[in-house]
């Protein structure tokens, strides 16, 4: 019981550390789950992160995986709720009011000022992804081919990504 509370609390505060891209919180989550609380091994954590990327929905669903390894179904549900509910409530409240605030001069100025920061964060996210995902000729080719196909707008992105994944699997097998 105490351990379940600890699990919930840990993912609750971890969720508030996710600013500007979920990748930033991964090192701390691993430290908490593997090193400090021994909910799972480092290998299991890496596998869980990869699986959360491979399955649909937010990447931060890795919380569900960790919760499941730690405490089964109940752990998974609690970790998932802690990860998504409090920050989402905050997001709903703020974006609800933002619609009213954005007409005011200070809100317009803030929005205009934050825009380039957001663009920079997005570019940083691409860089972080590439640093782990692009490591040889094949991965460069897969990324390039996907970019070209997506740029034509002829194919839904998910189809292009799945096809490239299948090609990679065939090449590496």
């Amino acid at each position: 019981m105490a351990n379940l509370l600890l699990l919930t609390w840990t993912f609750l505060w971890l969720s508030f550390l996710c600013v500007g891209g979920g990748l930033g919180v991964i090192p701390e989550m691993e430290r908490q789950a593997v090193t400090i609380h021994h909910w799972l091994t480092a290998r299991e954590f890496v596998d869980g992160y990869a699986l959360s990327q491979l399955t649909p929905g937010p990447g931060m669903l890795v919380a569900v995986f960790v919760g499941h390894r730690a405490h089964g179904l109940l752990g998974a549900v609690l970790a998932g709720l802690a990860m998504f509910v409090p920050t989402s409530v905050l997001a709903i409240v703020i974006s609800h009011h933002w619609e009213q605030w954005r007409a005011r001069p200070w809100a317009l100025a803030a929005e205009r000022a934050l825009l380039p920061v957001g663009v920079g964060l997005m570019a940083g996210g691409v860089y972080t992804l590439a640093r782990t995902a692009i490591h040889d000729g094949v991965t460069v080719a897969l990324a390039g081919a996907t970019a070209l196909v997506v740029a034509t707008d002829r194919v839904p992105p998910v189809v292009a990504v799945l096809a490239a994944g299948a090609v990679g699997w065939l090449l590496w097998r």
Binding site: G21, S95, A109, L115, V117, V119, L129, I134, V161, G168
Partner: protein, 192 residues
């Protein structure tokens, strides 16, 4: 103000959640809501994207909430979140149970390597589309570049970077001549 009905919002968000594999999932939203359906204008998307990045919490769910609120108010935010998170949560729960029984081999790892490389190509294209037309003037470009270098290659803590760069950006705004406001024409919200 509702631009789309809740049911359509739930359907489209659920599909977007289902079809978003790999990292950089905001790319799928941009494709679904801006390029395919024109429910959201490009500059609105960039604003919502920025807000979802700056707010604490998982990015993708924040973006779903903010876009949902924009499209269908409070209920849109709640249902947008559920539509994005629940299907994936159920699937990952099943996958976790399978994993606990040792059902995953090296084949899954290889497939994943290919998928994650492909996702880089996808987010590159989408990011370029989002960047194009959203940076106005040299100061904005400089702020974006500095932010990128800080969180990307330099790997500085994101929270600190956002605080510093936001302050710098506000300061630059203050000293710059006021630009013309972004156009905000009304746009009918219907499927093409």
């Amino acid at each position: 103000m509702r631009r789309v009905s809740l049911l359509r919002l739930i359907a489209v968000f659920t599909w977007t959640g289902f079809s978003s594999l790999g990292g950089g999932r905001s790319a799928y939203f941009h494709d679904a809501l801006v390029r395919r359906r024109r429910w959201v204008r490009h500059d609105e998307f960039v604003q919502d994207f920025t807000l979802s990045q700056v707010l604490p919490g998982p990015n993708f769910s924040n973006l779903a909430v903010v876009l949902g609120c924009r499209l269908a108010g409070f209920a849109g935010g709640v249902w947008g979140l559920l539509a994005i998170v629940m299907p994936g949560a159920v699937i990952l729960l099943g996958v976790s149970a399978l994993y606990a029984r040792g059902a995953f081999g090296p084949d899954a790892t290889l497939l994943m390597r290919g998928l994650s490389a492909a996702v880089v190509g996808l987010v590159l294209v989408t990011s370029l589309r989002i960047v194009r037309g959203s940076l106005r003037g040299g100061r904005a470009a400089a702020v974006a570049l500095l932010t990128f270098v800080a969180v990307g290659p330099l790997r500085l803590p994101t929270v600190a970077v956002v605080l510093v760069m936001a302050a710098l950006s506000v300061g630059l705004q203050w000293s710059a001549p006021a630009p013309s406001p972004l156009p905000r024409p009304a746009r009918p919200a219907e499927d093409p």
